[in-house]
């Protein structure tokens, strides 16, 4: 059952892989990604020397590592984006089972690196956080299941994916890693929403969350204190949040100047969770707005491409991937400006971190693969045609 459609791009058979890739890939998104990665390296020069010094490495030890991992991540990204969506789906589903197994076996073989939460496998030269890799392949799996469920006589994919999501959230909560668990829940919800969840459920869930929040606020002193602390204008000046706020304020519009920042000396997570504070202090609001614009650009570009996508699986998988990436970036920056309560989450492509970088590379590679220009029926014409026929 081949869909005959008037393609926006004329398919030329026998075209070489690379030129075809370059012609069909979303070059704007690709450019944004590369820009973010470059900014990450630039900020690494500023933020990581104090850490390197503390750990007894060369000043630019972490920058070099970041560049190496980044190179790997970009290669993986380009490679994945060259695959066909079907191949991505197949590999994604296989990878999903592997990742679930890896997460499930963490309590047995994992390490906690003295941080209280068992999230990593130690590979000797590097550490691997399987939940980072789980996120993109989970999206592929969920999109596959949900899209299949839309076929007449298809499997009950929504229930299956919900069950799997709940199970994974259970594993993540056991580590405990509530940030990743929240991302998984969010990714599933967005996919379900775009796949046509009844609006009623949306309102009921929103209502329940609101009600639950009010009930918890009134009944749990601990919860109320957390919320009050988050809402109150005053913060303890010795917390990471306060340092981040000071750094942003210190930076002003154009920054304190290269290497002039001080936050990297006081913030233990300056190179990961609070990299945006380093950016704000040394380069000012200008760079921060550029970073925000890059993420927003990626998101908008991808969403508008996906809106025109006819294949349900590609549409859903792409939505899940871009939502994950954007939400993670949003949470990271929102924490720094106290829009959200503190939650450790890296800034994709910018923050330091090997497995996170490569996992993000895979995710964006998939996204680029899904948003490549393919023959699409122009929706208006297509529908007109269809209605005329029935």
């Amino acid at each position: 059952m081949t869909e005959i459609a008037h393609g926006t791009v004329i398919v030329q058979s026998g075209e070489a892989v690379l030129p075809r890739w370059w012609r069909t890939v979303d070059r704007v998104t690709l450019g944004c990604i590369l820009a973010l990665f470059a900014i990450g390296i630039l900020l690494g020069f500023a933020s990581s020397p104090p850490l390197a010094e503390r750990n007894g490495h060369d000043p630019f030890h972490y920058v070099i590592r970041q560049a190496a991992f980044g190179g790997m991540a970009l290669s993986v990204m380009v490679f994945v984006s060259m695959l066909s969506p079907t191949t991505v789906r197949r590999m994604g589903v296989l990878g999903f089972f592997a990742a679930v197994a890896a997460v499930a076996l963490l309590p047995v073989f994992g390490t906690d690196y003295g941080q209280g939460a068992v999230r990593w496998y130690s590979l000797g030269f590097a550490s691997l956080q399987p939940s980072e890799f789980l996120k993109p392949v989970f999206v592929v799996f969920t999109a596959w299941m949900v899209a299949a469920s839309q076929e007449i006589g298809g499997p009950p994919g929504k229930s299956v994916s919900l069950f799997v999501a709940v199970m994974i959230v259970g594993f993540l909560a056991m580590q405990p890693d509530f940030g990743q668990a929240a991302l998984i829940v969010f990714a599933w919800s967005v996919i379900y929403f775009v796949a046509g969840a009844p609006m009623m459920i949306l309102f009921v869930v929103l209502g329940l969350v609101g009600l639950g929040g009010v009930v918890a606020y009134n009944n749990s002193e601990h919860f109320a204190r957390r919320i009050d602390g988050f809402l109150s204008a005053e913060i303890d000046p010795n917390t990471q949040l306060a340092y981040a706020t000071d750094a942003i304020r210190e930076g002003g519009l154009f920054g304190a100047g290269l290497g002039e920042g001080s936050v990297k000396w006081t913030l233990p997570d300056a190179h990961t969770d609070f990299i945006i504070a380093v950016a704000a202090e040394e380069y000012g609001l200008v760079l921060v707005l550029i970073i925000i614009a890059l993420y927003a650009g990626i998101a908008m570009r991808s969403f508008f491409r996906l809106m025109r996508e006819r294949d349900p699986f590609i549409r859903l998988a792409g939505t899940g991937l871009v939502s994950l990436l954007t939400l993670q970036a949003f949470i990271n920056m929102a924490v720094a400006v106290r829009l959200l309560p503190a939650k450790g989450m890296t800034l994709p492509f910018v923050s330091y971190g090997g497995s996170s970088l490569i996992a993000t590379g895979i995710a964006v590679g998939m996204l680029l693969c899904f948003t490549r220009t393919r023959p699409q029926g122009d929706i208006g014409d297509f529908l007109l045609n269809r209605h005329g026929r029935t």
């Binding site: 304020r249 002003g252 519009l253 508008f304 006819r310 920056m333 829009l339």
Partner: protein
């Protein structure tokens, strides 16, 4: 919306069969069409939902960008934590002032001292330095705590400014101060039982609640803490008078070798308590702990004037005589049989001195005859006596605005029979506090209207219910005056102030039953000036013994009366009462030289 097309429309199937075609192809085709239609529907829906998601993300990024911009362009502010002042919680508790506006309780900005051991640079020096500043701290114990895993240690709930400076001078960054509001009673132990005291309620690093724990501070706690409250709490007390009363009382207590003492000075018309003292007392700035064993009445926290309910003895005769006069049973010259002992149900009532077989009502009162008073009570009867004492407020808690007042309920006999009536007539059988007594005397002496005692300033007299007639009240004032001029309270004479009063020397009951012979509660309930009483003063000494004579004297006339007289001598001018002394003619020369 069109109806759903069936997958196998019968007409077409039959048609196809007739033509020999495979009818399954029709189903396949229909199924495909339905699938396409479904997909299109989903796609249109997905398009709008994707747009919605995209808009949400865009809005979220705009918010972050806006916050970043707002933060980047904002002015840096000094963090308002762990510094000394400016915290909003400070000075929210209202002050307490006396009737002339002098401060009785106020707030004092101070600091609590705590330590962050992980920020301490030299634990040894810090521990030694602190032990030097605070002698009760142990340097070694501190050092152990400073080098432990703890991340937060409370050291002091509040410290003085001098101590704060000394801690600053240690120069140790791990020793930190949390702002505190501390309740301060600048007059020390003066009026301690009224003020009660305050302590810390909920405590956080940067603030602590100040909570009243006793006395007026506890009674009006929520009111004093109410941020909407306007102005201080004004009491009826007069600070200078209170101080003078306490000083004289302490001197009298020492001189009379008493175990404790109480005094109540009340405005006879309004019921305002101008001074209320109970000894021993305490300093509300450092309130002692309650006793964990023994009688709470021995604690300095115990307010004898309010909480000490005892049988007060002959001071009650005033009420018996007043009732007999008011009900017209007798007049002042009616002769009463005073032959003793008066036997009743195996109980004998005796007089201290016998003044003959028959005496006038005046003499019964002035010479404090138990027998004569008992006979008057018999004429009144139990029911009416009880009703009269109730109208005087002697059978209920006083209603004074102290938390302790509610529990200070007078003790009355379970069966108020004829014998009880007779013993109550001279002050045995009903136990009341000195505040009760003062209020009842004010009622008797002020013209006969009921007085309710209060600690809050009243600007005008509150005219209570009438208890006895003006006429009876006037007679009673004469009788009270006569007790001082001719009777048991002759030491109570204060030149120029025409003191009237009644003594009461009651033996303390033994816990096992019966009474101690050498342990008295001696009370002098007085009014001054007696022709138009402005004030009532009740002075009670607990277990006094006046030892200037060959034998210790334990009657009120020898103990409480001189103390009360000295008190009146001291406070009457402070209260603005002009002594009625015949002025020697003043020569124009000397008056102009003033």
């Amino acid at each position: 919306m069109s109806l759903r097309t069936p997958l196998r429309p019968l007409a077409r199937i039959l048609d196809a069969r007739q033509k020999g075609e495979n009818p399954d192809a029709i189903e396949r085709e229909n199924r495909r069409l339905r699938h396409e239609a479904e997909r299109d529907k989903l796609r249109v829906r997905a398009e709008s939902r994707l747009l919605l998601v995209a808009v949400c993300f865009l809005a979220a990024f705009c918010t972050v960008g806006y916050r970043m911009a707002a933060l980047a362009t904002s002015e840096p502010v000094e963090p308002r934590v762990a510094s000394g002042s400016g915290d909003t919680i400070l000075n929210t508790r209202a002050d307490i002032i006396d009737r002339h506006g002098r401060v009785l309780a106020t707030n004092f900005a101070t600091n609590a001292l705590y330590a962050h051991p992980h920020e301490i640079i030299d634990a040894r020096a810090a521990a030694d330095g602190l032990a030097e500043i605070f002698p009760d701290m142990d340097a070694d114990a501190l050092h152990r705590r400073f080098t432990s895993e703890a991340r937060f240690i409370w050291l002091r709930r509040y410290i003085s400014p001098e101590q704060e400076q000394q801690v600053h001078d240690l120069g140790e960054p791990g020793l930190l101060f949390g702002p505190r509001e501390m309740r301060l009673y600048p007059n020390g132990s003066v009026a301690s039982h009224i003020l009660g005291g305050a302590g810390f309620g909920q405590e956080a690093v940067n603030a602590a609640e100040v909570v009243g724990v006793a006395g007026i501070e506890a009674q009006f706690d929520s009111d004093l803490r109410d941020p909407a409250r306007d102005g201080p709490l004004q009491l009826s007390l007069d600070l200078t008078v209170q101080a003078a009363v306490e000083e004289v009382l302490a001197g009298g207590m020492a001189l009379m070798n008493a175990r404790g003492a109480a005094a109540v000075l009340m405005d006879a018309d309004t019921g305002e308590i101008v001074a209320l003292a109970s000894l021993p007392d305490f300093d509300p700035n450092a309130r002692p702990r309650p006793l964990t064993e023994g009688d709470q009445a021995d604690s300095p926290l115990f307010n004898r004037a309010l909480q000490g309910v005892y049988e007060l003895g002959s001071v009650f005769k005033t009420f018996t005589v007043a009732q007999a006069l008011d009900e017209g049973l007798v007049d002042l010259s009616t002769m009463v049989d005073t032959t003793g002992p008066l036997r009743m149900a195996g109980f004998a009532i005796r007089d201290f001195h016998s003044y003959g077989p028959e005496q006038s009502v005046t003499d019964v009162f002035v010479h404090s005859s138990n027998i004569g008073t008992a006979r008057l009570a018999r004429m009144i009867g139990a029911e009416r006596q009880r009703a009269f004492l109730d109208r005087l407020g002697l059978l209920e808690p006083t209603g004074v605005e102290l938390v302790e007042a509610g529990a200070a309920r007078p003790l009355t006999p379970s069966r108020w029979g004829e014998l009880s009536t007779m013993t109550i007539s001279y002050g045995h059988g009903v136990s009341t506090s000195p505040v009760h007594l003062a209020a009842a005397y004010a009622t008797i002496a002020n013209g006969g209207t009921r007085v309710t005692p209060t600690l809050l300033r009243r600007d005008a007299p509150v005219l209570g219910e009438r208890v006895i007639s003006e006429e009876t009240s006037a007679r009673m004032r004469e009788l009270l005056r006569a007790v001082v001029t001719d009777g048991t309270a002759s030491f109570g004479e204060v030149e120029g102030y025409s003191v009237g009063g009644k003594t009461g020397s009651a033996e303390l009951p033994r816990p096992q039953g019966g009474y101690f012979e050498d342990r008295n509660i001696n009370t002098f309930a007085s009014v001054f000036p007696s022709d138009d009483p402005e004030y009532v003063l009740v002075v009670t000494l607990y277990e006094p013994a006046e030892t200037s004579g060959p034998e210790p004297r334990r009657t009120a006339g020898w103990t409480s009366v001189p103390v009360a007289a000295e008190m009146i001598r001291r406070v009457a001018p402070l209260l603005g009462l002009r002594p009625e002394i015949e002025q020697p003619p003043v020569s124009p020369l000397s008056s102009s030289s003033n």
